[in-house]
């Protein structure tokens, strides 16, 4: 059990503290608490999980204080509670062609490995979705094989193409939209992962498992043409 306690965060917020470290087992506890508290039906405005904290905001301090006890009680036996995970397991097609993999050469040089080894390593693991942040629908996935651990770009790019796959430190990610950013770009996926028209706009949720498989540029183009909706993507690529 990593949970340390609840602290106030301003007049209407609180932080659930799981310590200062980051690991998959801490994250598993964070995301279990996140989904348990989310499903209590509390009158909260936002609940935001990250590596080792959960921040919650209420309409005002009174409502916050009224609900603090319920959350404390829930957290006191979070470990023993059975938890039906609603999380999905994804297998996501990825194209690692040079035209998409803007930083592949840089990583090859840095780690003295071939393009094929990079693809094999990146597709070898099932990654854990730590949380969604930075921009709408952006998943922090990890941990990548140690041979691929790469620092962020010294100078961030001004424009990273939408759907790009990045790696930085021990994480990998997907940029939902065109964006500035400092992750090393190694490929691209053929569909959008955030859809404003959908009441559940994000393809990935905290706690989901995500793995990639390599597709040719031709297969990539074919999938891209299908313009899958979020609901179709769920049917096609998750279990």
């Amino acid at each position: 059990m990593y949970f340390k306690g609840i602290n106030s965060y301003g007049d209407r917020g609180m932080v659930l503290d799981f310590g200062d470290d980051s690991s998959k087992s801490i994250s598993l506890e964070v995301n279990k608490a996140f989904s348990t508290i989310s499903n209590l039906g509390l009158p909260l405005l936002n609940i935001i999980p990250s590596f080792n904290k959960i921040v919650i905001i209420f309409e005002n301090s009174q409502i916050r204080d009224q609900n603090k006890e319920k959350i404390t009680l829930e957290m006191s036996d979070i470990k023993s509670q059975s938890h039906k995970s609603a999380n999905k397991t994804w297998k996501i097609p990825a194209c690692y062609d040079e035209s998409f993999a803007l930083d592949l050469k840089l990583i090859q040089k840095l780690h003295q490995i071939t393009k094929e080894e990079i693809i094999n390593l990146h597709t070898s693991e099932s990654y854990y979705t730590y949380y969604i942040g930075f921009m709408p629908g952006f998943p922090y996935l990890g941990d990548i094989p140690s041979q691929l651990i790469t620092p962020r770009l010294a100078t961030p790019r001004i424009k990273i193409p939408a759907r790009s796959i990045g790696i930085a430190k021990n994480h990998t990610c997907i940029y939902p939209k065109i964006s500035p950013g400092g992750w090393n770009i190694i490929g691209q996926i053929p569909f959008d992962i955030f859809d404003l028209q959908n009441p559940n706009p994000s393809l990935f949720l905290p706690g989901d498992k995500v793995s990639f498989y390599s597709v040719s540029n031709k297969e990539f183009q074919q999938i891209q043409k299908k313009h899958f909706s979020i609901n179709e993507l769920i049917k096609e690529y998750s279990s």
Binding site: G10, D11, S22, F34, I48, P49, Y131, G133, K177, P201
Partner: protein, 292 residues
């Protein structure tokens, strides 16, 4: 049919409401009106606003009735007039309802000794919500209208004015606040007593590089004794984060959803609205409260 058209945009013209909630865990910022006190006041005059307010900063827009007639009300301290269809000009006041008829143009010149102002239109602007809110987040490209408003943007108001009666409330005449009570931020312990002492005893100046995302402050550098780089975690509007240059940033309505800078303190909700109205160059001080 009643319709309104934007004939001049002024600056930072967007649609806002009380905020977009329940999506921050998916990376979606709460957004919403910078000064929520004002749209609450406008609610008293235009109860049927449908949560579709027009927000402007410094220089207001001109809006013209293209067809039919509409009832509007402006909130905030601004200079404005109505250019009537028949050529006459009428000076008008905020917090008083205004009936506008075909060809009438409302010109909002500027906000006085403040930053943000708002227009409420009876029956709203005919917009559809996006993720349960009308607010625009221009950085993320989210909103009923996912960009700042521009000239020729036209809004159809589907229902007719409910009554021509003039309604008004006294101008709330908000006192300009420059001393802010703040509460401990999640990384307060990152700062030495000396750093905290300079945080509460020095004066900060609001920088011109401030926007809906954050208000940048200039003053004595506040240095953290630990790191200025923490593991990213959820952040709330009003948080005062301190990057490695020691110059604090007050995070406002279009916050990044998670952040990796230590947060020394946080303002309460009411004060987020108050601080949003201070123009660049304003000098402010913080008073750190021990408990909330």
């Amino acid at each position: 049919m009643n319709s309104l058209v934007i004939t001049r945009t002024g600056t930072h013209l967007t649609i806002q409401d009380f905020g977009r909630f329940h999506y921050q865990h998916l990376g979606v910022s709460p957004s919403g009106a910078m000064d929520q006190r004002i749209i609450k006041e406008l609610e008293k005059i235009i109860p049927l606003h449908h949560n579709q307010f027009i927000e402007f900063a410094y220089v207001g827009p001109s809006i013209k009735v293209k067809e039919g007639s509409v009832k509007v009300c402006v909130g905030g301290n601004c200079n404005m007039n109505i250019q009537k269809n028949n050529g006459t000009q009428i000076i008008c006041q905020p917090y008083k309802s205004i009936n506008l008829f075909e060809g009438d143009e409302l010109n909002i010149h500027n906000t006085i000794d403040s930053v943000y102002g708002y227009i409420a239109v009876e029956h709203g602007l005919g917009l559809d919500p996006c993720l349960k809110s009308f607010s625009t987040d221009t950085k993320a490209g989210i909103g009923s209208i996912n960009r700042p408003l521009k000239v020729d943007d036209t809004f159809e108001i589907l229902e007719d004015v409910s009554s021509w009666d003039h309604l008004s409330i006294p101008n709330p005449d908000y006192k300009k606040e420059t001393n802010f009570k703040v509460y401990p931020g999640p990384q307060l312990q990152f700062f030495t007593d000396q750093a905290l002492q300079s945080f509460i005893s020095s004066t900060f100046t609001i920088s011109a590089q401030s926007d809906r995302m954050g208000i940048r402050l200039k003053g004595e550098a506040i240095l953290s004794s630990q790191s200025h780089d923490i593991l990213s975690e959820g952040i709330l509007p009003g948080s005062i984060q301190v990057p490695s240059d020691g110059q604090p940033i007050v995070l406002m309505r279009d916050i990044p959803c998670t952040g990796g800078y230590p947060k020394i303190a946080i303002l309460n909700e009411e004060d987020i609205s108050k601080i949003s109205q201070l123009p660049p160059g304003s000098q402010i001080r913080f008073d750190l409260q021990t408990i909330y």
